[in-house]
């Protein structure tokens, strides 16, 4: 676009300066430092550093504990994406019906947008607590026994997934509702005149037209499992039991701030960074919408 321009050699730089300085000092510099730190080993509680080459990366590559951490992250991300997006899309389609009070229903469905992972974690922690949690009372009634949600590895992972799906509902529904409003009803009508049944209309028309949004949400939900999930894990399970919910970001945090293995933690940061770069590249390639709605 050939927008009319103002003249001035220094003025545009002046306008951009605050942003550029902040990004340079508080984003680029720490990222570069992270790469540098990942080649060092820190000893004596962070008092001495020693160049270690690729040692930190080799350690991670050989550490079965770290492999487990990556696996846990993949499992949680996959479940959050599949369960969360399916539920969100179903709810969004229901809320998209022409019905009296539709806007009230919408508000009542999208408010979890404002929830934080720690708050979601706290409420779920209480509901699923052994002994007095309300969920255990229900399982006691229905299946005659209590389930140890925080002590059993599989149940703990399930708990993290359920709380995450709940927390992400609002965000996913907001975006799906917006996308559904762009679905052309004429196409749907044409499809039903051509004899398509409900399921075919959904799959061939609605779902196909929504696929860019589904892809966008796929990426943001994966990103959630990489980073934002930290607060929930820290509150609900602290990575346990037996590291069952020890996702990559939680493992990184513990190595950095509980065991003071700065180099090892930085190497994990670099791995996460590369994963984000790959995800972002895929996103840029496949869609024009390139805004990350986080910070």
């Amino acid at each position: 676009m050939s927008t009319a321009k103002f003249k001035g050699k220094w003025i545009p730089w002046l306008f951009l300066l605050p942003t550029l300085v902040i990004l340079l000092v508080f984003l680029y510099y720490p990222v570069i430092q992270t790469f540098r730190l990942s080649f060092y080993r820190v000893a004596f509680l962070g008092l001495r550093t020693k160049f270690a080459g690729l040692d930190n990366y080799i350690n991670l590559a050989q550490d079965s504990g770290y492999h487990h951490t990556v696996w846990v992250t993949i499992v949680i991300a996959a479940a959050v994406v599949v369960v969360g997006l399916a539920a969100s899309l179903a709810i969004a389609m229901l809320a998209n019906q022409k019905i009296r009070g539709a806007s009230v229903y919408r508000i009542l469905l999208i408010w979890p947008f404002a929830l934080s992972p720690p708050v979601a974690g706290i409420v779920f922690l209480f509901m699923f607590s052994p002994g007095f949690g309300v969920v255990n009372y229900l399982t006691e009634l229905v299946i005659g026994t209590e389930l140890n949600w925080l002590g059993n590895p599989r149940l703990a992972i399930t708990l993290i997934i359920m709380a995450s799906v709940w927390k992400n509902l609002g965000y996913n529904i907001v975006f799906y509702l917006a996308a559904l409003q762009n679905v052309n009803t004429e196409v749907l009508e044409a499809a039903s005149i051509d004899g398509a049944n409900n399921w075919q209309r959904f799959r061939k028309v609605t779902f196909a037209l929504l696929s860019p949004m589904t892809f966008f949400l796929l990426i943001t939900n994966i990103t959630y499992s990489f980073f934002d999930i930290f607060g929930m894990v820290d509150i609900l399970t602290k990575g346990g039991p037996l590291d069952a919910t020890n996702v990559m970001i939680y493992n990184l945090y513990r190595d950095a701030f509980e065991y003071y293995k700065t180099g090892l933690a930085s190497a994990q940061s670099v791995i996460l960074f590369l994963l984000v770069v790959i995800l972002t590249m895929i996103q840029f390639r496949t869609s024009g919408r390139q805004v990350h709605y986080g910070g």
């Binding site: 927008t3 003025i11 306008f15 510099y29 009542l108 930290f230 701030f257 996460l272 805004v291």
Partner: protein, 278 residues
Amino acid sequence: MSLSISRNTRKQLLTHIALIFVVLVVLAPVLFALAKSTQTRAEVYHFPPMLGPGSAGLLNYKIVWHQFDLGLYMKNTLIVAGIVMFFKTIFSMTAGLGLVYFDFPFKEFIFYFILFTLMMPTEIMIVALFNLVSDLGWGDSYAALSVPFLASATGVFLFRQHFSSIPADLADAARVDGAGPMRFLWSILVPMSWNTIAALALIQFIYMWNQYIWPLVIIRENDRQLIQVGLRALTNQQDTTNWGYVMAAAILAMIPPMLIFILLHEQFTKGFALGKEK
């Protein structure tokens, strides 16, 4: 009553029932927390569980507000969120102005320089950022909590996208009138940007209100702690925890972002141009 109407009504009724059911399921954890936040300790641990309002009224709220410093944490978080919202809006707006209404060398480079920061969430550089901010001597200060977040690609691109959609004649007319870029920004762009400003304010507020890992590692003094980490302290005394207090605190912590979201979610949809394909 004709057949088609009754079928239609029945479908409407079923949709209402389905929606009410889903709304209740989604709300259930919060309703549960709300009920427990009004119960006394004995009521909280009562068996079978009591799911209605308890007899403690607002007592738990008063106790967490005063004795467990919830008021302090919320004040700190409001201050930090306010600083970030204010400066980030201004910085993003002027950056958008520079990118859209000026030509200058290395413009493309600058564009990508900003764009790439989308791939750099705080968590990725948490160790190095911790070292940097500690070396600056900012530990336990509002500066540590706000300055690293005063600029973002999201903000810049939101305004850049919005300004690009404003007709070019406007800038021309302003220039003919002899207005400089600051006047142009203030008297033409700002009045046309309220949806974008509101959208950015909303995501910034929620983003800052929900900050967790950064205050957890950088803040040692309770006096400067933010709300989410404050909640963590409440749950950490597991054995002695009074869950009535914890639920009251969780409800309090939900209120401000929820209010802002309900107030601004329509502007958010418009500001992100979600309503229309481009």
